[in-house]
C-alpha cells in the first residue's frame, strides 16, 4: 500500500482510465478510417497550407492535412467535454515559465518532426504495432527527457532565471549579493 502511495501520490485510477480512453480513440480512428493516429504530423502538414517549399508539399502532408486538422479539433473538443463535464470548468493553468514552454516546445516540435514521431506516434501507435524502431525512439526520448527534467529541476531551483540578469554582463563591482547563488563566482569574479 505504501508502495502504491509513493508511486502514485495523486491516485492511479484516472491515469489508467485516461490511457485506456486514449487507446480507444486511436483504435476508433483505425476502425473507422484505417489510419494511424500519431499527433505530431499535424504540425508539419498544417504548414503545407502556407509554405510552398517541396518538403511541405509532399503527398504525405498534403493528402493528410485536412483529416489531421479535424483529428486535432476532435482532441480539443474531447478535452473541452472533460473540462465542462468533469473538471468543473475551472481554467487549467501551469506554473511552468513561458520561456521554458517556448524553448522546450521548439525542441519538441523540431525533434518530433525530425524523428517522425512523438509520444503518441512512436509511443502509442509505434509500440502498439510492435515496431522496433519506435521502441528505440521511445527509449531514446525517455532517457533524454529524464535527464533534462532532473538537471533542469536542480539548476532552476538553485538559480532561477531572475538571477541570470545579475550575472550578465559581468561587473567589476559584483552586483549579485546573494551568497547562496551558485553563479556567484561569475557575479563577483575575483579576477577583476
Amino acid at each position: 500500500m505504501n508502495q502504491t502511495l509513493s508511486l502514485f501520490p495523486l491516485g492511479w485510477q484516472h491515469y489508467l482510465l485516461g490511457g485506456l480512453l486514449i487507446g480507444c480513440g486511436t483504435a476508433l480512428l483505425f476502425i473507422v478510417t484505417g489510419r494511424i493516429g500519431g499527433m505530431s504530423t499535424v504540425f508539419s502538414s498544417t504548414w503545407s497550407y502556407l509554405v510552398q517549399r517541396p518538403f511541405f508539399q509532399q503527398a504525405r502532408f498534403v493528402d493528410s492535412r485536412s483529416w489531421r486538422l479535424v483529428y486535432a479539433a476532435g482532441l480539443i473538443l474531447g478535452a473541452f467535454i472533460w473540462w465542462m463535464g468533469f473538471a468543473g470548468g475551472a481554467a487549467q493553468a501551469t506554473k511552468v515559465p513561458v520561456w521554458q514552454l517556448v524553448v522546450g516546445g521548439f525542441f519538441v516540435g523540431y525533434g518530433a518532426r525530425l524523428g517522425n514521431g512523438c509520444t503518441s506516434g512512436h509511443g502509442i501507435c509505434g509500440l502498439g504495432s510492435l515496431q522496433l524502431p519506435s521502441l528505440m525512439a521511445v527509449l531514446t526520448f525517455m532517457a533524454t527527457a529524464f535527464l533534462t527534467a532532473h538537471i533542469a529541476a536542480r539548476v532552476l531551483a538553485l538559480a532561477p532565471p531572475t538571477h541570470w540578469a545579475k550575472i550578465w554582463p559581468p561587473s567589476r563591482r559584483g552586483r549579485c549579493s546573494d551568497l547562496a547563488c551558485p553563479f556567484r563566482p561569475w557575479c563577483a569574479p575575483k579576477w577583476f
Binding site: M39, I76, G109, G121, I124, T148
Partner: protein, 111 residues
Amino acid sequence: MVRPEVVLSFLRFQDFGLMLVMGGAVLVVLVAYKLVPRIMARPVLDDHFHAHPSVWNRDTAAGAAIFGIGWGLCGVCPGPAIAGLGTGNWDLLWALAGISLGALVQGLRAR
C-alpha cells in the same frame, strides 16, 4: 497531461501515473491493430487499413533525443498541447507556438 506539471513530476520520478496512461493506451491499440484487420475486411470509411512503418536511422535517433530534451524542459508533448486548448489552459499556447515553430524550422532545413 494538460498540466505540464504532471508530466514533469513523472519525468522527475515523483509520480509514475504516466506509465499507466502509456501502458493503457498501448494495450488497447495493440489489441485493435492486431484484431481489427482480421475481423473487418476494410475500415468503415476507407478501402484498406493503412500502415505507418517507422525506421531507425540517424534522423530518428537525433529527433527522438532532441524531442526528449524539449519534453523534459517544458513537460508538453504535441497531443496534450493541442488538447489543453479545450480546457482553457492558454499558457499552452506558448508551447504550441514553440512546437509549430520547431516543426517549421525542421521542414525548412530538410532537403
